[in-house]
Symmetry: C2
Subunit: 255 residues, 2 copies
Amino acid sequence: MDADSLQPSFAEPPGRAFEVVLAWVDAQILSGDLAVGDQLPAERELARLLNVSRAAVREAVRTLQAQGVVRSSVGAGAAGGTTINALPSDALTRLLRLHVALANFPHEDVIEVRVALERLSVRLAAQNATPEQLDVSQKAIDVMADPDIEREAFNDADTAFHVALAAAAGNRLAMDTTAAIRESMRLPILDRFRHVHAWDDIVEDLRRDHEAIQAAVTRGDAEEAERLVETHIRSAWHALSYDVSAGGWLGGSER
Amino acid sequence: MDADSLQPSFAEPPGRAFEVVLAWVDAQILSGDLAVGDQLPAERELARLLNVSRAAVREAVRTLQAQGVVRSSVGAGAAGGTTINALPSDALTRLLRLHVALANFPHEDVIEVRVALERLSVRLAAQNATPEQLDVSQKAIDVMADPDIEREAFNDADTAFHVALAAAAGNRLAMDTTAAIRESMRLPILDRFRHVHAWDDIVEDLRRDHEAIQAAVTRGDAEEAERLVETHIRSAWHALSYDVSAGGWLGGSER
């Protein structure tokens, strides 16, 4: 391994032998020396190259498998027959979702990132969405229109609406990150849905917001869609948080 | 496990028994029923609850360990003594970086997401950066000012500059995602750096861009910093890509 193939962030001495192997595989992937479908060197070779035990190589390979970074061909032993995998989008969204749920980021920080990503998503959706994709977000709106809908079902349809617009952006990285952030906010938002006092008022505003966003995206007005989605995310969160924390509803002028 | 505790995306029948366990743990985390520091149920109990073998539970726990989602206390056996971990930022940035490197997203898609996140980062940095944080991005500028700098060293300092501004945003989720996206672009950008013909012209533009961004952030001009960083990312990528693909330099008017 030459020094050039190591990213600066991998240059610190790792704590354990198998981490040496992980850092090496990461660096090879990021430098382009290992691409999807390429095989890892055989266990014995990798152990010698990196000056670690074969057990350390095996542990690293198991970890990489669990992370979805490599897969082992059936019948092939140890590191031999281990090929680099194309990480499925699901793996990333899942980790991002868990990360946001566990990392205890301040909700306000998540909102800022969400606004940035959803502005991008609706702008691209306004430019690229197909009628079929717009049907998906419209269906979520129709579900939310039910006057008897439970709060949890409303939240699920609300999530589905935002994820559908992200999917219509025609940019898979934008979609993966937007969907992960929205889904990671499912619980905090549901919490507020459950405890909010002025549910009927708030839910009416949410319905109006969603319809206006859908209309702007449908007529291809990217600028208006961006403005609407930012206002929607910020004002909904503000209304829900204020109402829950103060135990009383301020009225329309505060939104 | 009640149906409500499962997110819609986890509701499909998983392919293998250990995936049932993974889906259950994910759902508990996302519903807030398992938080950082909480213990997983004991192996035997979890196997009975989910109607899977104890071996499946063990495999799931190993996978969750590899993903950093749980850690096992030393001396405790199997799933007993397994606690939910706060995923370190590094774990997310690493996965996101690998994901972008392996997923073969079109570079243009990555650029769009990068622009959205870096606009957010410099806006927040213009509002929140401390003098110490601005020193870090300034140091990267100083490194890039060396007229004899190698292209790879320039690229590393360029990455460091953007990551430093993201770190100055005072929003860790914004920083984690911005840094991961920029680092995932290190190789494609380095590739272009290496093959570009009009290196001297381009590098001068990059230096000027970085200094203007740094100045806008330092004087707290969020709007100008956002505009500059977007123009910088788009024009640098365009100049590098055009020059490399066409094998000739169009001149300043095309940028």
